[in-house]
Symmetry: C2
Subunit: 571 residues, 2 copies
């Protein structure tokens, strides 16, 4: 590829819209261009990286006997009515009517399509286990697209679906996928990747794992044990909480005026947040007239995922103006009402002398002793783990909460889809069975952005040889010098003929400084410079983006060296 004709532009300025490093660099280096909120076009360099990522994913999926297929992007409502998700998924799913008035949708995930495909053609236990996967464009109408390709509305994704005759068989295959994912990340060159137990969300099913790239730009929080292997998304992680040891005192109503938030209350009473009882109010799906109040120790946050799992319904923060509750003064005492469901987090169990709301404008209560005052309370684990809790598995390690970006996920689905969609296979004993499913997702663009994020340096992107858009960039200086031009053109042809993917910076009107800065910004692993000076010794200068090292080399040896170096740099 000749750089002079490459559709793209390299800029020094960080675009105002960029919020993370990878986004800024991918925009500055001419890889991506924003089309709309959360929607990007991929220019050639990004598309080339994307194709290489896709091929690595494809190879690893084929190794575990995956069969590549293609499901439709646009699907009819009926299939999603069968699974129940047409109504259970909210506005992140795009729905529209086709020209005949038929309800259609854009697939965000393809469990229904996978069952539709396998149903009636996978009929016998002998055909199981099997796994089908696709690599395809998906659109999710994300409310919070952010950080360039990290969280977008339209993206390319590999999604896979396996079918099994038993839970044991699913688990065995699930483990194969579990390991295949680590192979993928390894080959992509991602380093700080961990797998954590996760919430299965709208997918259904029980066991699920997320693969997290640990990075400060992550929007997920993961609790990691200092001693054992325990790792989990804080949404589902459990921990052993230190108890606040207090002498019990009498209940007392105190005028607290404008002090409403936990912070304000702590300032008012000169106490720590762990000595308060916080109330969080939710609306529940399909329960227009009711509210859910979750009480949690004031130093903790509610895990919506845990709450959802317990009440079996979707929840969303509730606007208190629609209720009779006293904003900022909600407490558990005297809160009985038919329109309320109340849940206590286990963090409150046995705690004494807490401050809580008095359900009365401007007043709080001190001296709340949970065991003494709230005999009727039902406890459940509905809080997010925080830094410093003890590990629930080994009991000794301390949990540390780190930030991460989810770069893949795997789920055990059970029969959530095969049962309502009536997929049946014949078993050896003559019975019929709804196959047990697993599903496995990995986003191509997000992984591309994560590689960029993890490997970039102050000069720009740094691609490894497995995914680099071009393996070598050829930078001739002084193209007005006939010998440079001839040698450069010849080397370009020879490298192409030898199968090296080379970007040829054939721009004649651009300075050496610009050429070097561009090649560094674009992150090409190897740069070859040909100049009148190097040619005086019949040499070229080869430098390496990752290490910054340089070496002079005979022009005649360059092709052989580069072919070998490129091959040896793949992993």
């Amino acid at each position: 590829m000749r750089l002079s004709k490459l559709v793209g532009e390299r800029t020094k300025e960080t675009p105002a819209s960029a919020t993370v490093k990878s986004q800024a660099l991918l925009m500055r280096a001419g890889y991506i261009k924003q089309v709309s909120n959360g929607i990007y076009s991929m220019l050639t360099p990004a598309q080339k990286v994307s194709c290489k990522i896709q091929n690595i994913i494809r190879q690893e999926m084929n190794k575990i006997d995956g069969q590549e297929v293609l499901f439709p992007v646009v699907m009819p409502r009926e299939m999603w009515d069968e699974s129940g998700r047409y109504s259970s998924i909210g506005s992140e799913m795009v729905r529209f009517k086709d020209r005949t008035g038929h309800d259609m949708l854009l697939g965000m995930t393809h469990e229904e399509a996978a069952v539709h495909m396998a149903k009636n053609i996978v009929k016998s236990y002998e055909q199981l286990p099997c796994m089908i996967y696709q690599i395809q464009t998906k659109f999710r109408d994300e409310a919070r697209s952010r950080a360039g390709l990290i969280r977008v509305r339209e993206f390319t994704m590999k999604d896979a679906y396996s079918f099994h005759t038993s839970q044991a068989d699913l688990e065995e295959y699930y483990n194969r996928v579990y390991n295949a994912y680590f192979n993928i990340y390894k080959r992509l060159g991602l380093k700080n990747v961990i797998a954590v137990a996760s919430d299965s969300g709208m997918m259904g099913g029980k066991v699920a794992h997320e693969y997290m790239l640990l990075t400060d730009i992550g929007e997920d929080s993961i609790a990691i044990c200092s001693d054992c292997d325990y790792k989990a998304n804080v949404e589902v992680a459990t921990g052993i909480l230190d108890k606040v040891d207090c002498v019990s005192e009498e209940l007392k109503e105190v005028f607290t005026g404008e002090a409403k938030t936990i912070e304000e209350i702590c300032n008012f009473f000169k106490i720590n947040p762990s000595q308060t009882c916080k109330a969080v109010c939710y609306a529940m799906e399909g329960e227009q007239d009711k509210s859910l109040i979750v009480f949690v120790r004031g130093d903790l946050d509610v895990s919506e995922a845990k709450v959802k799992a317990i009440i079996g319904k979707d929840i969303a923060p509730k606007d208190l103006d629609e209720t009779l509750l006293v904003k900022g003064n909600i407490g558990p005492l005297g809160l009985h009402s038919d329109s309320l469901i109340v849940l206590f987090d286990e963090s409150l169990k046995n705690e004494n002398n807490l401050v809580c709301g008095a359900n009365k404008e401007g007043y709080h209560i001190t001296g709340l002793c949970v065991e003494r005052d709230l005999l009727w309370a039902k406890f459940a684990d509905v809080s997010k783990v925080k830094d410093g809790e003890l590990c629930p598995i080994c009991g000794k390690g301390v949990l540390k909460v780190e930030r991460g970006v989810e770069i893949g996920n795997i789920f055990q689905l059970g029969t959530k889809y095969t049962k309502p969609m009536n997929m049946l296979v014949h078993m050896p004993d003559g019975t019929e069975l709804n196959p047990i499913m697993g599903c496995y997702g990995i986003g191509v663009g997000r992984n591309l952005a994560c590689i960029a994020e993890e490997s970039a340096d102050e000069k720009g992107l740094v691609w490894n040889m497995n995914v680099a858009p071009w393996e070598v960039v050829l930078c001739p200086l002084r193209l007005d010098d006939e010998s440079v031009l001839t040698k450069a053109e010849n080397l370009y042809s020879a490298l192409k003929d030898a199968g090296v993917d080379v970007l040829y910076d054939d721009r004649a009107s651009v300075s050496a400084g610009v050429k070097f800065a561009d090649s560094e910004l674009m992150g090409i692993p190897v740069r070859v410079v040909i100049s009148p000076r190097s040619l005086a010794d019949n040499c070229v200068e080869v430098s390496f983006r990752q290490t910054g090292e340089k070496q002079m080399m005979s022009y005649d040896d360059a092709v052989e060296f580069l072919v070998k170096f490129v091959a040896n740099s793949k992993f």
Copy 2:
């Protein structure tokens, strides 16, 4: 791939919904499964063929300096308002509102996205010419999806866009694409492909070509000269019509009662259709209160494409009940009205003694002499060419109308998109210019279906080696025989190791007949049979799907032979 685990089923019964051979075979052989009207899932064999087709297209696009990119499927309205197509394209384009109420659409074609990408980053004449392309899913809400993958609503398409500083440069590049497309079809193994001049439709621009696979299942009609190179879609083809030589007679009003259609009128008067003057009525875009009447010689059909090009507006057949016109009795005499636009096809020029409607229920007029009676008539070429007309180019050859399926198209667009979207490049003389564009499309699934259609025989699909889902199918018979099992498993491994893409029919409970029928139905180019009988001589039987030929061969030579045969069969 082990056939026992392949998600798919082979059936003998032709599905009721299948209307053409390729559709029936692709469904029967487990390649595709219908999800909704005009929407299919691709199972693994089809996806494999599709990937091979995509790679051939990709290679040929790269050879002509194409840069692969990826545009979004979902785009915001604004871009399409700029080009004017948000309103000019009808209900085949899916529109919806996103969660914030923003108007979005599903891209049917990506001229706007291409200009949006290139604009501001392609700034100088030095960067031109350049061509960007993508291979991606598109959704068009076709009113008439049909024939399996031939005409669907969702499909994978390669679309390419080139930018130029002059018409001459565009034409030069257009010719390169013109030839690249023939290379693609050649490598796909398609035989009866021709390029014809075509209407540029909603794309805008003037010069355009369609690539047609000549086949009886085609829904396009192409006029082909018997003597010279002239070929054109009948929608835009011109021809030299034989004139009907009649003595002129007096105008006479005749009661024709219920005779309304051309056929009924011809029966009534015992004349040929060419002796009548037919009226066709259209509604025009944006002209609610007016009708367009096109008069054409009764043996010809109106070309809507030609009419659109002349009046510069979209048209659609009009419901006559909404007008004051007398259905079945419309004629040109006394038809003046402000609410009518009247167009005469050139076929009527100088014709004498025609029968036409009298604009009076139950009456026609005979003796219409166009030159004498219709002094005010304006003529234009608005009819479709028919079999037997003389070639407009050489004047000697006779045009024959054949049926074809459009398997690709290329357009010269001019500045239709760069001008309204304000894309500008600097020219050497300091001026700025809207680049001149070309666009080039080819549908992957339709080509897949066309290869299937053209090459299939009475036993099933017949893939050539370039696109076959698997190159070799290995059919062991009597897998309960340990020596067959061992030899088959070893041969399967050896072939895989040697890089042969092999389908292993490892089903133990299936008869030889079923295995043979399945392998023929699926169309795998080479079949290797291992049986107790062949192994008695340490042999395997190799047969070839295309020719039906068979040969026995030493088991030990099989891998080497197959590797060579597969390589030599690629073209």
